[in-house]
């Protein structure tokens, strides 16, 4: 080294500055992290326009999820294999105008719960009386999720129970009870699934059912014949469960048509959601897969075409665990949020916020991942997430729950996990090669994210500030106006943890509007009675926002079918345009704010 002394001094200073850069960046970003600091409700209300209060016990809910105990061969890694199953879905099963809550349990012999809304701030578990509690009996597997849809168009939402085991279909007997109709519906005897959605893919007015397998369907996790049940790659696995598309034949029977219509993936599906992404009138299907890329199926009404890579969402493999749609920029277009894994210093996958690229639409629509730009990329070991306007300011916010396995706080399984996950397929694919868990945590005790949308392309995490301070192993999130107050409350199902009810209080001033849709099936018009797939586009104050009635979204979740729009202060609503599944378009001029509008599809 022959440089002069001054140059060497500058070089050393430059080097020190480089080494100091991470500290400087850390300090600069410290204020934006960890959901802000905890503040009192009054301050949160003033600063963020809302706060959330956990009220499950006061509401009469004391539900605690239990994980399954599996085949003894899996005992060393049971915490990992049995790490899912907690779910929540919203339904007004008795049509009394008050949303009810259904939650799943996952231990053999444990009971699911149906919490009937008592209209007074409390809930009562009526699952036993209704016949949908004792659904985790030995030999039938355990529940992992539930989705509701009126498959026979009788006006009452029916229940499809997702299981690692025998899937179940229950017919809703006008809100007085449920009748098991699994065999009549011709469902298969065993599926190891974590996701299912109701949607009418062919527009015949009858709800069809998509079920995404996780473990292969020939595996009975309680009676293993082999330990080669794990994914054969951490990011390119194709040895998961098959996919099912049950076409509703209209007589209580379903026909499995997945192969026939172009769905034949064996990736490890964890979440699915459907929406009309191209304005064709047909719902497209988005599937978030664990251990691999996401899949996007364009639907032409008869067949599906997988276009994930072409559309940009199916190239970089991650650990997809959530699929939720939201018009985050109030432009009348859906973004898709897919959650993945991020662990400091070990694995930084980052969550995906797939936003349609400017100038692309229709069959050539392209998506770009703007999660980092929008500030919703890092959420720990992320699971369920849902979009909803939590402070009624007119933009969709994002609630994310997370945390994988919370056991011993001081001992982590990450070292062993990363050791095996990077190994050859013959090693990773066999459960007996995985080191024993021995009570260690894996991305446990994580703080949640409540990202507030500023409407200009940035989300800010305010979880701690608005009262979301739990660190349970969150799985499933559902948003619903539980007490008909014009605000979105949050229900969270936690693995091996309690069901949480976050009651929302919104600062006065911001207005709202809600829509409850019912499809017209009288003339076989093409709409299903649940109106799943219907879209409402609201135009106000020179902007628009589109929302759809969903048959399942997020992770093992279903929001309320009623659509909630926040409007901000002094809104001037121009119109609401309803696109019914039948293709009919209905325009409501100047609908009143601060009201629930019950809309029946015109004949």
């Amino acid at each position: 080294m022959t440089g002069n002394r001054i140059a060497r001094v500058f070089l050393v200073l430059f080097f020190i500055a480089l080494l100091a850069t991470p500290f400087v960046i850390k300090r600069m970003s410290a204020g934006r992290e960890a959901g802000g600091s905890k503040i009192d409700a009054k301050t949160a209300l003033a600063r963020h326009g809302f706060y959330l209060e956990e009220v499950s016990h006061a509401a009469g809910i004391n539900f605690v999820h239990q994980s399954p105990r599996l085949d003894l061969k899996l005992d060393p890694i049971t915490p990992e294999v049995a790490s899912m199953g907690a779910s929540v879905s919203i339904v007004d099963f008795d049509r009394d105008g008050w949303p009810d809550i259904y939650v799943t349990n996952s231990a053999i012999g444990s009971k699911n719960a149906l919490y009937r809304n008592m209209h007074d701030g409390t809930f009562q578990d009526v699952a036993g009386d209704m016949g949908i509690a004792d659904v985790n009996q030995p030999g039938t597997g355990v529940s992992t999720g539930a989705v509701w849809g009126d498959f026979d168009n009788d006006g009452y939402e029916d229940l499809f129970l997702i299981k690692w085991g025998r899937p179940e279909l229950f017919h809703n007997d006008q809100g007085h009870g449920f009748t098991r109709v699994t065999e009549q519906a011709r469902l298969p005897p065993w599926i190891n699934a974590n996701t299912a959605i109701w949607f009418d893919y062919d527009g015949d007015g009858l709800l069809d059912l998509f079920v995404g397998g996780y473990y292969s369907e020939d595996i009975d996790l309680w009676h293993l014949t082999t330990t080669r049940i794990m994914p054969d790659s951490f990011e390119y696995a194709k040895n998961g469960g098959r996919k099912y598309l049950f076409h509703n034949l209209g007589n209580g029977k379903f026909e499995e048509v997945s192969e026939k219509v172009g769905i034949s993936s064996r990736r490890w599906a964890l979440a699915a959601a459907a929406a009309d992404l191209r304005g064709t009138g047909h719902p497209d299907l988005f599937v978030a897969n664990d251990y691999g890329v996401s899949e996007l199926y364009f639907n032409d009404g008869k067949r599906f075409h997988e276009v994930g890579e072409q559309a940009g969402v199916g190239f970089a493999p991650k650990s997809g665990m959530n699929a939720a749609f939201g018009d985050i920029l109030n432009q009348g277009r859906y973004a898709v949020y897919v959650s993945n894994i991020s662990e400091d210093g070990i694995l930084i996958q980052g969550n995906n916020l797939w936003v349609p690229k400017e100038g692309t639409a229709g069959d050539t629509i392209k998506y770009q991942n703007l999660a980092r730009d929008f500030g919703v990329e890092l959420g720990g070991w992320s699971f369920g997430a849902q979009f909803g306007d939590l402070n009624n300011d007119g933009t969709l916010d994002l609630y994310l729950t997370n945390g994988y396995i919370s056991l011993d706080r001081n001992r982590s399984y990450w070292y062993d996990f990363s050791k095996v996950a990077g190994g050859n397929s013959s090693i990773i694919g066999d459960a007996k090669n995985w080191p024993a868990f021995e009570g260690r945590s894996l991305s446990g005790y994580q703080t949640k994210r409540v990202w507030l949308n500023d409407g200009a392309g940035k989300f800010v995490d305010v979880a701690q500030a608005v009262g979301v301070t739990d660190v349970y192993d969150g799985r499933s999130v559902a948003l619903v106006d539980l007490w008909n107050r014009g605000v979105l409350d949050v229900v969270v199902a936690n693995q091996n943890g309690p069901l949480l009810l976050y009651k929302n209080t919104v600062a006065p001033g911001n207005e709202w509007i809600e829509f409850e849709l019912e499809g017209n099936t009288a003339s076989h018009s093409g709409s299903n009675r649940s109106a799943i797939g219907a879209e409402v586009t609201l135009f106000w104050n020179g902007q628009q926002q589109v929302q759809e009635v969903s048959g399942g979204s997020g992770f093992a979740a279903q929001n309320d079918r009623r659509l909630h729009f926040g409007l901000g202060r002094n809104p001037h609503i121009e119109k609401a345009v309803i696109h019914w599944p039948s293709g009919k378009i209905q325009t409501i001029d100047k609908p009143a704010a601060d009201q629930l509008h019950k809309m029946k599809e015109p004949a």
Binding site: M1, T2, G3, A7, L11, V12, F14, F15, L18, L19, T21, P22, F23, I25, K26, D232, S233, F234, E235, Y236, V293, F315, A316, P317, S342, E343, D344, G345, I346, L347, I348, G350, A371, R372, E377, L378, S412, W414, Y415, D416, S418, K419, V420, A421, G422, G423, N424, S425, S426, I427, I428, D430, K432, N433, W434, P435, A436
Partner: protein, 290 residues
């Protein structure tokens, strides 16, 4: 990473033996370009088949930063334009091995890596492998933003066989296969020892070396001529010590054990060699004077 094209900075008496850098070209390529070409092929094959890069821009940023800083510092301190092959390998290694949702870690890691070559010198030799230094520092200082490649190349056999075969041929031609061979043999033997000590399945202890991160580590990092000792037997001892120290770190559940092991053992070995060289030089001085 291999730094075969760095400017010559050693006094004549401690010049490393000249590798056949410009003779016996492999595949018609000057040997200076073989390592860059190989690592570029790995990157392209990995990306086109598995999509290992979420962003070309991040990898490009790492490469460009690396080359730019090398050119500037080389101009200032060596008064010439340094051949960019070495910086290219550092940049592309950073681009492949670092994983971060942000852009800045790629640029910063490259900058730290290259600058370390010019700052951390003893007796005019840099003692850390640049990218090993940069990556280790980033993992220490920016763990909340940075991880390294671990799984993004799939877990299948055929890409591994291709990379191992090609890598072995190239490393053999560059006369450094013994380093790779000793390391692999040591790792496997110590993996069984760890399995016996911890009770973990032996397959889980072997698993890391079957992954892509190790392929880069084994073929490019531990074989770097500029940051390994010069004698063949010394190289064998040092690389065994790297594997041994890695085992100690692994027993303490350190995820990035190989990087940290090389970070500690590599420079220690270099310092010992430099000390021995200076002792020999002092002892030889009176003889020369006579």
């Amino acid at each position: 990473m291999s730094q075969q094209t760095s400017a010559p900075v050693f006094p004549p008496q401690i010049q490393p033996p000249q590798a056949p850098a410009h003779r016996n070209p492999l595949f018609g390529l000057d040997n200076r370009y073989i390592a860059p070409a190989f690592i570029t092929c790995i990157l392209l094959a990995g990306h086109l088949s598995f999509g290992i890069l979420e962003s070309y821009q991040k990898t490009l940023l790492a490469i460009i930063t690396s080359i730019l800083i090398e050119l500037v510092l080389g101009r200032i301190f060596f008064h010439k334009w340094v051949h960019p092959a070495s910086a290219y390998i550092t940049g592309i290694s950073v681009g492949i091995l670092i994983r971060s949702p942000a852009f800045w870690p790629y640029a910063l890691c490259s900058a730290i890596s290259i600058t370390s070559k010019y700052v951390l010198r003893v007796k005019d030799r840099h003692i850390w492998n640049p990218s090993n230094f940069g990556i280790s520092v980033m993992l220490f200082l920016a763990a909340e933003t940075v991880a390294t490649l671990s799984i993004q190349w799939g877990n299948y056999l055929w890409p591994m066989i291709v990379i191992w075969t090609l890598g072995s041929v190239i490393i053999w031609r560059l006369r450094r296969f013994h380093i790779t061979g000793i390391y692999v043999a040591s790792f496997i033997a110590l993996a069984f020892l760890r399995s016996w000590m911890t009770g973990s399945p032996w397959q889980s202890e072997i698993a890391p070396i079957t992954g892509p991160m190790y392929q880069l580590f084994i073929f490019f990092m531990i074989t770097d001529p500029k940051t390994t000792v010069r004698s063949k037997s010394g190289q064998c001892v040092v690389v065994f010590l790297v594997a041994l120290f890695e085992m100690v770190l692994r027993l303490n559940q350190i995820v990035y054990a190989p990087f940290y092991a090389l970070f500690v053992v590599g420079p220690a070995a270099m310092l010992i060699e430099i000390w021995l060289d200076s002792r020999r030089a002092r002892a030889a001085t009176p003889t020369v004077a006579q």
